[in-house]
Symmetry: C2
Subunit: 462 residues, 2 copies
């Protein structure tokens, strides 16, 4: 062990130093797609110690890979294979520093899980809306570093919209205290949003002041079968005209995506008949004389672009959302798949989906697009399942070609090739290819201004 690493171990103490035998969970991405090596895995206990680690690494010319939750999908929190980088886990920074029910804010450290923040908010009668499938493992630091999305973005916005302030350890080891709990603050440049979503390449987010909301007193779900996709964007607008801001979720599922989920235990047909497309809707409201289910049923009856609809009971609603969440796992039953996380303007979704179907069929006949996602955000998961008769290896050999097809069509619709999962390592080359050159130049200038030595998370994003 080098002198620099011995000093680092000294600085962190035994609790902050992860011995090689225990490093595996930090070095391996949870799906196993990214696995690196590290010179050290360290777990500072607070912001001051995090800053001390950064200062030490800077003096010793050690690159740092920040990690908070390790639930990302693009390899943003995985070290490279050189064994020269220091993996800095924020999982011991797990304190709720403050809850202010009247300001409707909570100040949580990077290592708090989403579930822990949700529980702390609920304990004072408030609601924290950031929610993902992995809410019990996803941590605030990672959610902010990647500007996480999830199932409530349509109404509450993504992580960026929920963070009023953040605390950041900079590349030179200084601490920027931007922990303000203000809804209006025009005193200078928006540093907060620069760090949020920068995937640990500009600074290490150690805590955030997060917005809380009133607890919804009523929650009702419904499922609609659509004969065709063409009118889905105007259906969304019509739903918003009917129920207003009560609409908090609007998920789109193709018949094929539903079928993959139906292969799993606990999943059942959402409606009596089969439909090419499904919308899964969630509405919430405060306590009210008008039961929300009746209101939603009235609105759905009026909309002629729906072939069949059902407002769900409490039990039925759980089954519907189980079905939705089962799609990624269910897709495994359909063989090899090539996945994309893209967004396009909502109005262009129907034409985009048609173009994807046509182009992948031409490229690899028999490919089954498994398309689902967040209609209200324009964010679709365009996953492609292999043709049934094809060998899995032969299909995955087409990855580059099929990626190009989906990304070219996304770009042609003025969309984003990285909607909610970020860039990490996975889409770094694609960002160089599809990103606006002027924008990329600005990003590089900012990176150089804030991390001139390239110490923070090298090989990610840029």
């Amino acid at each position: 062990m080098s002198q620099a690493l011995r000093e680092l171990r000294e600085l962190l103490g035994p609790e902050g130093w992860v011995e090689p035998a225990d490093q595996e969970p930090y070095l391996k991405e949870w799906r196993g797609r990214y696995r690196g090596r590290a010179a050290a895995v360290v777990r500072p206990v607070d912001t001051a110690m995090t800053a001390a680690v950064v200062r030490h690494c800077r003096a010793s010319d050690l690159a740092i890979v920040p990690q908070s939750g390790n639930t990302g999908l693009c390899g943003g929190a995985a070290p490279d294979g050189s064994g020269s980088q220091v993996l800095l886990s924020l999982d011991r920074l797990n304190k709720i520093r403050e809850i202010d029910p009247d300001n409707q804010t909570i100040t949580a450290e990077a290592g708090c899980t989403l579930a822990a923040v949700q529980r702390a908010a609920a304990a004072v009668g408030r609601y924290f809306p950031l929610d993902l499938a992995a809410a019990d493992r996803t941590m605030i630091g990672g959610a902010l570093a990647t500007n996480a999305g999830g199932v409530n973005v349509l109404h509450y916005g993504n992580a960026r919209a929920l963070a009023l302030g953040i605390e950041v350890v900079l590349a030179d080891g200084r601490i920027w205290n931007g922990l303000r709990g203000l809804r209006k603050d025009n005193s200078g440049y928006d540093l907060r949003n620069l760090f949020i979503g920068s995937e640990g390449t500009l600074g290490i987010i150690t805590a955030g002041v997060l917005r809380l909301f009133t607890q919804p007193a009523q929650t009702v779900s419904a499922v609609c079968g659509l004969p065709r996709l063409e009118r889905a964007p105007s259906l969304l607008a019509a739903l918003q005209e009917g129920v207003g801001e009560r609409l908090v979720g609007c998920e789109l599922m193709s018949r094929f995506s539903v079928e993959t989920a139906l292969s799993l235990p606990g999943c059942e047909e959402p409606l009596a008949h089969s439909h090419p497309w499904y919308l899964l809707i969630r509405v919430t409201d405060v306590a009210d004389a008008t039961p929300l289910g009746e209101r939603l049923a009235r609105v759905l009856q009026r909309l002629d672009m729906i072939a069949e609809a059902r407002v769900a009971s409490h039990t039925q609603a759980a089954a519907l959302w189980r079905l939705r969440k089962a799609i990624p796992a269910g897709q495994a039953s359909a063989g090899a798949s090539i996945k994309h996380d893209i967004s396009v303007p909502i109005s262009r979704i129907p034409a985009f989906v048609t173009a994807v179907h046509d182009a992948v069929e031409r490229a690899v006949p028999g490919t089954r697009p498994c398309i689902f996602g967040h209609l209200g955000d324009g964010n679709l998961h365009v996953n492609l399942s292999q043709p049934p008769a094809m060998a899995a290896e032969a299909f995955t050999a087409e990855t580059t070609r099929l990626n190009r097809i989906v990304h070219d069509l996304t770009a042609a619709c003025a969309g984003s090739i990285a909607a909610e999962h970020g860039i990490g390592q996975l889409k770094r080359a694609a960002l160089r290819e599809y990103g606006d050159p002027v924008g990329l130049d600005l990003m590089r200038r900012i990176k150089t201004a804030l991390d001139p030595d390239g110490l923070l998370n090298p090989g990610k994003v840029l």
Copy 2:
């Protein structure tokens, strides 16, 4: 005229070149507090010409002051007194480039007024919520450059929350096309929010893709009299629990601020009795079987912290909002005033207001705090009216001392000394004094990275 200016005139053509006799409206801030001189006043007709102007100015070492609307309150759009700067007005970039009702977006150029965008949205059945007293003169470019707030921030957010994408002319004359209409896009750093709110010091915003919403079908206002301020923050939370996301406005007015407005024609007592504090509430909803007014009345009846409340008819609502908007003008009738635009966490408003009252009374006995603002955003206008018996000049001589008192108390409450009006020239020294030194250093680095020659709006913000 120098060779560089002659070439600039050539580049712009007669329509884009403002002769000295016509320059006055561009050189003078509307309240007359800032008045500068300019080497030239130019009005490019589109983004390409704006970029050409910037390239020419850069080559000729001419500083640029961008201006869009000229309705700011902090001198951010006024040239200095040297007569060496080029004032670049964006008022000819006034095209609505695109409306996409199904994507719920509008693409508007910098010179479009808020009112024009509101009208264009309404024409396709949509709603653009950014609204200020000067909506018919405020332009999109200025609103984005200053991250404008207004009366709907509580529910819809400020200008930043309403802009999905922007187009920017950079300091080197390149154009960054960030005009995306996406609700989810995690493909790299958040450049958009860096330019928004930077007051023209990092780039010139030439167009924006703005979010539209469903038109509210019902709008109801109410006024409440509060015996004391202590419970106002929990009253806000209780209102949100009662009416949910329908609450779009929640304005606080002190009795003295109401009295100043009552001195103006067309303003009348809001309630039968006089109260130390008033809340002016606005709720909106889609069409509904339950009339919104009845619902609001039921909620208000339950809340024991309200001494007297009245749900307003349509006519009464107009009178209430006229009263609210009359406060700044009404204050003139109370003699000289010293104004502050601050924000603090909502929960700390009562203690902050008490501290301000005590401190200004100690400093200048008889000073009458005229406090009003946006309770839901924590944004208060802390205006101080002179003691009735004091000479106006003697009171304004206390400006520095009273500014310090209000700003020190704001800082002690973890607040912002520049909530919605920005920094401009007015608060540049205060930002240096009250801003976090690490944050200020980051801002300077970013300024240097994006505008190394200091060409854009020198002497503003930093």
